[in-house]
Subunit: 390 residues, 2 copies
Amino acid sequence: MENQFLLLPGPTQIPNRVLQAANQPMISHRSGTFKDIFGQVTENAKRIFCTKNDLLILTCSGTAGLEASVVNFLNSGDKVIVASTGNFGRRYRDIAEAHGMDIDYIEFPMGKAVDPAVIAEKLAADTEQKIKAIIIQQHETSTGVYNPLDKISAARGNHPALLLVDAVSGLGACPLKTDEWGLDVVVTSSQKALMVPPGLCLVTVSQRAWAAAANNHNHKFYLDLSKAKKYADDRQTPFTPAVSLVYALDEAVNMLNEQGIDNVIAEHYFRRDAIRASIKALGLKPVADDQVAGGAVTAVYCPEGITAAEITGIMREKYDTVIAGGMGDIKKTSFRIAHLGFVRDMDLIAAIGALELALYELGYKFELGTGVGACQKVIIEKRKVFTDRD
Amino acid sequence: MENQFLLLPGPTQIPNRVLQAANQPMISHRSGTFKDIFGQVTENAKRIFCTKNDLLILTCSGTAGLEASVVNFLNSGDKVIVASTGNFGRRYRDIAEAHGMDIDYIEFPMGKAVDPAVIAEKLAADTEQKIKAIIIQQHETSTGVYNPLDKISAARGNHPALLLVDAVSGLGACPLKTDEWGLDVVVTSSQKALMVPPGLCLVTVSQRAWAAAANNHNHKFYLDLSKAKKYADDRQTPFTPAVSLVYALDEAVNMLNEQGIDNVIAEHYFRRDAIRASIKALGLKPVADDQVAGGAVTAVYCPEGITAAEITGIMREKYDTVIAGGMGDIKKTSFRIAHLGFVRDMDLIAAIGALELALYELGYKFELGTGVGACQKVIIEKRKVFTDRD
């Protein structure tokens, strides 16, 4: 397996420290040694969510964590708002639908964020307080849009609806202040900004959400978070966890905390700026508006007459550089460069360099090096590279 | 993390080949390279189940796979027989209960197997064919009992009830012929005889089970196996899989197929014989009767006045040798030596050697070396070690 330049919205590149941590012999998941690791990573990961809430680590993908947020804290038939800005908004809706929720689905236009005023209006009209939850993405992976959770939380005001947040692709890449913003359930998975192979899912739960869980009647077993909490209080899991991935998560969380979560997010926004500057210099148009573009992924419209599969295919096959195609309505007409997790400055240069080579081969007219040059300028500014000329 | 002698019923020891396979960079789970690996491991793993049925690989623990066997193929309110021989029989019952099944729970005495005649009688009395499934363990991890699935399948005869089999701890260690015995759903997980870190679950599904799934109304999303099959037909998964564990599984399945599954199981029964001979030589009593003892785990009653925690504690703390305590009703009065997965002859010697040292320290009366000597005799016979004396 050769190393590629991997600029995907998950799995992301694994730093060597994390890969080595995973590469350890097995131990009993009921041993004191494992409990020490599990208790430590649980506590340390809370800093990344900016929370003192309970944090549960599950062995599953992020989707299962989103399902857990629905089945534990909502009953079938409950009225919920699903505020969507793209494909993963639709998936969260599908999950709520699979569990029989009464859904008010609002989809905002491509490339725009959720408008807090719309949420405020819906809640103001709900005088009987029948709406039990607002279901939303922190960051919509299909478009690269960041939703202003602080303003959405403010729009909720004193309405008792829970805020259930899909932070799968955005945690650690875009702002998220769980406690300050009163986010009741926040879900992420290991293979994004956390820089760990896929297989783990992290879920934080507020006291208000636990109160709702106490009145929950859904059928559930593996995703029963009350059981997970009971075991987590004793620094373990009800069912055998993915031990090697827990080792990896422990190391990755340490790396992020060493750097500080605010600095980690700032680095993601610098990368966003570098990629957006390059894209624009090449005459291409990003999907997300400037004001709402998040730090995790930049989705870009293809030049006319060129498909996403052509661009990503050449980049992958000829230059070992892996970016993602589009999703949903813009599957063929957009591609996505993720700048998520462990991404070095030269990964950005490689991505833009390979993109230019692919566009050149596909007949798009531009001057070679233009995108890379724009990327370099953002790097020079960020890294404060000075020469005699300055 | 220091290497221990790990004789647990999961996680089991990871062979170096498997550890190295897991220790690879990430790739896209939608790439052709990943599809090649995923398609290949899916096909190859079928040989271990002795089946041509569909095989699905999920990212979760074995418990979630058991839950999937209930929620996809049974509807709430369906009548089912749960045939139990211990703690994991109770867990399967709890899962069925959590999903609202109408359960006829039959628990067989400690150390005995499920009696096929009892199943035959229940089914014969069910003239209206209301029983939708027989839920059973292949191997009960708490006692080390192997249930005769061939005879239970024969007892089912032409009754249309599905046979749902928990093979989590027994697959690869005890006989299991999915197609020959008409097992409809068989579930295992990665951290047992498959010699892979925990985090993956494998489920086989018969055509008859798929027919039942077509009429299924339960709420489900992550564990929706019809969706998993749709993606598996294109050699991928609906949600991001645990990529590094799939690499590991691919290598481990290759190792098992190189050896041949019948040989792998025979090795487990040799280890069982070695451990049982040692235990008996030490004057201790195994929990499982001789005729029903499986190849995965040997549960042993503690000598009077000595608890499992004392024995396992000394073995672990002083001699880096990790065995399991008891479960359920015999939690404190039994311990379990697993001989499951990657276990070398000298791991057996280490386990018995450390057990003797612990028993000695706890005041149990016996001659040091008696257990190890008995173990060596079984090894000599198996390995055909001859000397001038023979």
